[in-house]
């Protein structure tokens, strides 16, 4: 038997690699599909050509479950997108993640990444996750021409202004919002973004932190009022295209389509920067900035006008090999991140990606908001423990289905809170 293996091993190609090439392969687990996967593949190509390392990418929308299983089975991928900062902290404390201080060139990283990003990727002072791309959340997308034709403003001063305008439009028989929250196992997350942004722009970053840390009860007047504020939009069938049944059954990646129907069926669509790539793929003829644009969700309280919510995909390392180190390093470079930016799939946390690399005025504006925001917070649901996060998603679905059940939904969330933060 052993002889057989030796014979087979000798059959394997052992051709000498040209200088500078490492060869071998690196396995990567992530969530990117569709437009994002196309960009990822484009980004990987020059790395593979240069290093001879083959990148084996595996995509799943149920990242948490797949990653947890593989880690506990002792066969994690070399690199993986981490489901959330909360999960990253769990994995780091279990000793599953490699300390990147010994892998990446920290001096170079500190030059290209703002300290905030490095802090978000650190657990107990050790860097264990890096952001290859980032998204600015809380944007309201629209079609400038149809918005003008409908007499709607593209720069409402406050959330109340936006709501008043939407209600006035509805009274004239125009449906202002297009919302869709379906997303397979993660259905409901779109709603968490709405609620987080409304929260941030009503109560500010300090309270926001208390909330995701589990110190502020769901049934508290603050959190409850945020749901009620959102309920003024999502609970009003006159304001949302198709009503709650449409909101529940429409995938987030297609929810913007009514904006671009002729005549348009809706005018506002709330989503993060990454949706630009989805719009571009669905309607290749549309020009960013001319045919679609965005404004930041206006503040509920004026003092929080300059706040922004961001999110990003964190990548962590489970196995340190020359290949995984090289690829992780590549992911943090301006060269790699320019692909995400050019593809309209997000923004770059790397400061060295020049604004000129952003494909259009629109993404430049997003990048500017990102760098100029005075109060930047990370996606709250991602900061919550996994159990709280999934309960939050499910609560959004229940709320959209029946807003009258709010008290009950919040009580359920508090039950989960008592359980989820306790560990």
């Amino acid at each position: 038997m052993r002889k057989l293996f030796i014979a087979v091993a000798m059959l394997a190609p052992l051709a000498a690699l040209p200088a500078g090439k490492i060869g071998g392969k690196v396995s990567v687990l992530g969530v990117w599909g569709g437009a994002e996967l196309e960009t990822f593949n484009k980004m990987v190509k020059p790395f593979e050509d240069r290093t001879g390392v083959k990148v084996e990418f595996e995509a799943t929308r149920d990242l948490d479950a797949v990653l947890t299983t593989r880690v506990s089975a002792g066969s994690p991928p070399d690199l993986a997108v981490l489901p959330s900062p909360g999960k990253m902290a769990d994995l780091a404390r279990q000793g599953k993640l490699v300390d990147l201080g010994g892998v990446l060139n920290m001096a170079a990283l500190k030059k290209s990444y703002a300290q905030g990003w490095i802090d978000l990727g650190s657990v107990d002072g050790k860097l264990v996750g890096v952001f290859p791309k980032a998204d600015l959340k809380g944007l309201v997308w629209y079609d400038p021409k149809s918005l003008k034709a409908a007499g709607l403003s593209d720069a409402p001063k406050s959330f109340d202004d936006l709501l008043a305008e939407a209600n006035a439009a509805a009274a004239k028989g125009v449906t202002p919002f297009a919302i869709g929250i379906e997303s397979g196992a993660a259905s409901g997350w779109v709603g968490t973004d709405w609620l987080e942004n409304i929260f941030l722009k009503t109560y500010g970053p300090a309270k926001y932190k208390e909330w995701y840390e589990g110190k502020l009860p769901w049934a508290s007047p603050e959190v409850k009022s945020v749901w009620q504020t959102w309920g003024k939009i999502v609970g009003n069938p006159k304001l949302c295209y198709g009503g709650s049944q449409y909101i529940l059954s429409t995938n987030f990646g297609q929810a913007f389509i009514p904006l671009f129907d002729n005549p348009p069926k809706a005018y506002f669509h709330f989503q993060a920067t990454f949706i630009q790539g989805f719009i571009g793929k669905q309607f290749p003829a549309l020009k960013a900035g001319e045919d679609f644009a965005f404004f930041a969700l206006p503040p509920v309280k004026p003092e929080y006008a300059k706040s922004a919510e961001i999110a990003g995909d964190l990548v962590g390392m489970f196995k340190k090999t020359p290949q995984s180190a090289a690829f992780l390093d590549y992911l943090t470079t301006a060269e790699a991140q320019a692909y995400w930016v050019k593809g309209g799939n997000g923004l770059s946390p790397n400061r060295e990606v020049p604004l000129s690399d952003y494909p259009n005025a629109l993404s430049k504006r997003a990048a500017q908001i990102l760098t100029s925001a005075e109060m930047t917070v990370f996606d709250a649901s991602d900061m919550m423990p996994g159990k709280m996060n999934t309960a939050f998603w499910a609560a959004v679905v229940n709320f959209v289905s029946d807003p009258d059940q709010l008290d009950d939904i919040l009580r359920q969330l508090d039950t989960v809170r008592a359980d989820a933060y306790g560990k």
Binding site: A65, T68, T69, Q245, Y246, S249, K423
Partner: protein, 324 residues
């Protein structure tokens, strides 16, 4: 690539080799004994590999799961029956239990009745092979694919818009004044809509097995009844159905076992949202999303306890069949 090919070959050639090697080794080991002793010992020794595999891959995990279900999420603290108490008192868990009961009552009943009707009716048409093939084909599709297909079938667009979902489009064309429904997101409809998908998958199976039983009935018996002036309905309920009863029971128990484990369809189509969660999906969430070994094991144990009586009945029935 080469590595996999080698392992494939090892599996194909190696397993029979090792097994026949084991038989030889047993003979070697038995050779010092007298012939009578040898014959008495041989079957036990032959059973060893099977029993070891069963113990390792079936009995040990079951016992381990039972033990884990009595511990907390990280299996570090004894929790007694805490996990079970939680399951039987927490509201979202009660919905899960209610749904499984709903599936258990509706799915086997509808599938068996439909399968029976189809078996009897298709028997009487000339193009029965075509009908049967069409009904049986879903059996060949994986449950996940069926879930995806039906997600498209159930798609919803607001009233007045072109309906992209087959079900809504079909119904709004046929039924005047029909309002399209979001089948999977309407609390009154979502559970039946999900159950229907599994019925669609399994009705072919029920039909084929029941058809075989139908064909096993002696034609002379039915002829005699007709000569005596019995109506077709009387023949069906008084002769055909009672004679098919053993098969109906087997089909039903198979369906019951399958429905208790229902997971894929729910996971793919709603992931348990809006009151559609079932035990297996909840178990998956507790285990892989929440890392709660205690509750996941408690759910697994409950499922096992629910399935044991059905399995027991099935085994007893097989045993009787063997002796007959």
């Amino acid at each position: 690539m080469w590595e996999r090919l080698v392992w494939g070959l090892v599996a194909v050639a190696g397993v029979p080799l090792v097994l026949s090697g084991y038989v030889f080794a047993v003979e070697r080991a038995l050779s010092p004994f007298a012939a009578r002793r040898r014959n008495a010992l041989r079957p036990w020794l032959w059973l060893v590999p099977g029993v070891v595999l069963l113990a390792g891959f079936l009995i040990y995990p079951v016992v381990h799961t039972l033990v884990l279900s009595l511990f907390n999420a990280t299996s570090t603290r004894f929790a007694g029956l805490g996990n079970y108490v939680h399951i039987f008192t927490e509201r979202s868990m009660l919905t899960v239990l209610r749904n499984n009961l709903l599936w258990l009552l509706i799915f086997p009943t509808v599938t068996v009745v439909l399968g029976l009707v189809l078996a009897v009716l298709t028997d009487r048409v000339r193009y029965q092979w075509a009908v049967k093939a069409a009904i049986f084909v879903p059996m060949a599709i994986s449950l996940v694919a069926a879930g995806v297909i039906w997600k498209f079938m159930y798609q919803y667009q607001p009233p007045g818009q072109p309906q992209t979902g087959t079900v809504n489009s079909f119904l709004s064309t046929l039924v005047p004044g029909f309002q399209p429904r979001a089948w999977l997101f309407d609390r009154a409809l979502n559970n039946p809509a999900l159950i229907f998908v599994l019925v669609w998958m399994w009705v072919g199976f029920a039909m084929v097995i029941l058809y075989a039983a139908l064909k096993g009935i002696d034609e002379a018996l039915l002829e005699a009844a007709r000569l005596e002036g019995a109506t077709e309905f009387q023949i069906f309920f008084k002769i055909t159905l009672p004679l098919m009863m053993p098969t109906v029971t087997v089909v039903t128990t198979t369906l019951v076992i399958n429905v208790l484990k229902v997971f894929d369809v729910v996971y793919v189509m709603t992931n348990g949202s809006l009151g559609t969660d079932v035990i297996a999906n909840r178990m998956y969430k507790e285990m892989f999303n929440y890392n709660d070994f205690g509750r996941a094991s408690a759910f697994a144990t409950l499922l096992l306890l629910a399935i044991i009586p059905v399995m027991f009945m099935n085994i007893k029935r097989f045993g009787r069949g063997g002796r007959a």
